[in-house]
């Protein structure tokens, strides 16, 4: 639409610059970055310091001299690789299953003729808000009756079900943005819904699916309570349980804890930074569209 501005140049008027002043903005930005990365950097520095420096009178901000004792200690004395392996198995398997089952369900909800799809979506959302403590006891009883305690499968199944509502919601949003004419064309050509899903929808939505998978992997990797309740054997315990149990009899091994924290968090931080744009749209997409 064309609007005539009799007085000033229109461009000038459309962008008023009376806001917070620049230096304040940069100060705020620096504070936010410090807030976000400061504690983790301190943990990183701690992991590289000697024990006697850690309990000295003046904390040293920089690890000089650098020592890798804590990293050696967690792998040699505390067999931390065992926990990492368990976590990879559990989180990896549950993520793959979650994506497969969740994507099919999201596809059905978003693009097929299903009555009451919003009822189902609402149900999934409600389920994800359950206090998890409410299901841990009954599931424990069930798992022990089945002889599933201290197994990977019980954790995989639990993480699968915990991750599904999120995956369904996010992928539902993704799939709805793909033009339906594609489906219609394929249907006229005689493709079944599953063919449409695997040959058309999945390839188009692949970036979104990968990001969603990353998010549900992080959630499973970080989960603590079910892992704590369902595993007592170090052969099956995951990383969070391992770190929580890092206490010695007489003192807290802060250096070892820091090293373990760095080992398990560094890959997550790297992944998050690489995929940050997709992640932000993934986690906020469902939230603001009601």
């Amino acid at each position: 639409m064309s609007v005539s501005y009799p007085l000033a140049k229109p461009r000038r008027m459309a962008r008023p610059r009376v806001r917070i002043s620049r230096p304040l903005i940069y100060l705020g930005a620096i504070l936010i970055v410090l807030w976000s990365v400061g504690p983790f950097l301190w943990q990183f520095s701690t992991s590289l310091q000697l024990d006697r420096d850690l309990i000295g009178d003046r904390p040293k901000l920089l690890p000089i001299p650098i020592c890798f004792d804590h990293f050696v200690s967690i792998f040699v004395a505390k067999s931390f690789h065992r926990y990492i392996f368990n976590s990879l198995v559990v989180a990896g398997t549950s993520t793959v299953l979650c994506l497969l089952i969740g994507a099919v369900a999201a596809y059905a909800l978003a693009r097929l003729d299903i009555r009451g799809r919003f009822g189902i979506l609402g149900f999934a959302l409600a389920v994800s808000m359950f206090p998890q403590i409410a299901v841990v006891a009954p599931l424990y009883v069930l798992a022990s009756n089945l002889g599933w305690l201290d197994t990977y499968r019980v954790l995989i199944l639990v993480y699968l079900a915990l991750g599904l509502p999120f995956v369904i919601w996010v992928l539902f949003g993704h799939f709805r943005t793909i033009p339906t004419t594609l489906d219609e064309a394929a249907r006229i050509d005689g493709a079944s819904p599953l063919t449409i899903f695997f040959r058309i929808i999945v390839p188009i939505a692949l970036p979104g699916i990968v990001t969603t998978g990353l998010l549900s992997f992080i959630a499973a990797w970080n989960e603590f309570m079910f892992a704590l309740a369902f595993t007592s054997d170090i052969e099956r315990q995951t990383v969070p349980v391992g770190i929580a149990n890092f206490t010695d009899l007489h003192y807290v091994p802060w250096g070892d804890i820091a090293a373990a924290s760095v080992v398990v968090t560094f890959p997550l931080v790297a992944l998050v930074l690489i995929f940050q744009r997709n992640i932000i749209s993934g986690i906020t997409g469902g939230a603001v569209k009601e």
């Binding site: 009376v18 059905a108 206090p131 992944l271 998050v272 940050q276 939230a287």
Partner: protein
């Protein structure tokens, strides 16, 4: 502060327009938006559709193009079976089983397993430990939700400004969210350590305190320390959610307000805030529901101590279940938590509905 604010601005625009002055694009946009709203309302009251029909144009319906599409026999419901099966087996069935357990005196330590009616619940309501944990949970939920929403809103407002390195700031904000909560607990355990913690050292060196504070080792500071850890971890995430909400508000509205001479403060309270309220409430609701079930932070950092000063409902329930092995009583506890969550959700829901209605009328 109310939607009336933006209406007032719109009315002002209208008056100016009638007075023969130049109309602005923004004013027109407001008009269009309002007209659409009323049209929308009229349409709705005309045909009273359920939510299902509200979005049909995007979905393939068989009749739409006039061509008869081959129908898939087993029905699309089949595709939902695995997902609903998994959710049912791990969420719905256990909740019902938990409800059933809560009426029994089941323990794993003895063969006791009989129906005892509501006595678990009666015992619960006269249990000092329960009320202790209850009040800590409510305090924690209130404090963390409030702080995270307010600070998060501040961060989000800052990030709506364009400045060099904004992308880096936004990326950095994802880090606390990605770190496992157990690691966060240990990290804060070390930062706030009573003897060698960095926080004590820094506070001493700038003269805030004279002697070290035993943060999470003393009953008066333990819960605030946990709130701080949670605020650290969740606020940036909250800010990103609110930022997404803020970005859906058309820039032209604040521009129109500023042309009318509204200062940044008024622009925020009269234009952006009323429009942001739904996103804000939804974000706060999810945060409150999540905060209410806090477990990891407390369990790892203090284990509920010292002297039960940080015991929350989840940790108390967990101890009843897996230390005392009282599955009946523990299930009663978790059922009460569950009901409270529903109450919180309904409370926010009603508030939100009222808000929506206010905005639309």
């Amino acid at each position: 502060m109310s939607p009336k604010g933006s209406q007032r601005i719109a009315a002002k625009e209208r008056k100016e327009k009638r007075g023969g002055r130049a109309s602005s694009r923004a004013a027109k946009m407001i008009f269009t938006a309002k007209r659409n709203l009323t049209l929308d309302k009229r349409m709705r009251s005309a045909s009273k559709p359920d939510r299902e029909d509200a979005i049909p144009p995007r979905y393939p319906t068989r009749r739409r193009s006039g061509i008869k599409l081959p129908r898939w026999r087993p029905g699309p419901w089949l595709l939902l079976v695995p997902a609903l099966g998994a959710i049912g087996a791990v969420s719905v069935y256990p909740v019902l089983l938990g409800l059933w357990l809560s009426f029994r005196n089941t323990t794993l330590a003895s063969p006791d397993d009989a129906f005892i009616g509501v006595s678990n619940y009666l015992q619960l309501f006269s249990d000092g430990q329960f009320w202790n944990a209850w009040s800590h949970t409510v305090e924690f939920t209130g404090a963390s939700t409030l702080l995270e929403t307010v600070i998060g809103l501040g961060m989000a407002l800052l990030l709506t400004e364009r400045f060099l390195g904004r992308g880096i700031v936004r990326a950095a904000m994802l880090i606390p969210w990605a770190i496992p909560t157990v690691v966060t607990s240990k990290m804060f355990g070390w930062l706030f350590d009573g003897q060698h913690g960095l926080v004590n050292y820094l506070a001493r060196s700038i003269g805030l305190i004279h002697t070290n504070i035993n943060w999470y080792g003393s009953p008066e500071f333990a819960l605030p320390t946990i709130v701080m850890a949670d605020v650290w971890k969740t606020t940036p995430f909250m800010a990103l959610l609110l930022l997404a909400g803020l970005q859906t508000i058309p820039r032209s509205l604040t521009e129109a307000a500023s042309i009318d001479g509204a200062n940044p403060w008024q622009q925020f309270w009269l234009v952006r805030f009323p429009l942001l309220t739904p996103s804000l409430l939804i974000a706060a609701m999810f945060r409150a529901l999540d905060a209410f079930r806090i477990f990891d932070l407390v369990y790892v950092l203090t284990g509920g101590g010292p002297a039960d000063s940080t015991e929350v409902l989840s940790t108390l329930t967990y101890k009843n279940l897996f230390s005392a092995l009282q599955f009946g009583y523990g299930s009663a506890l978790s059922t009460v938590m569950f009901l409270t969550e529903i109450v919180i959700a309904i409370g926010f829901g009603i508030f939100l509905l009222k808000r929506f209605r206010e905005v639309k009328v």
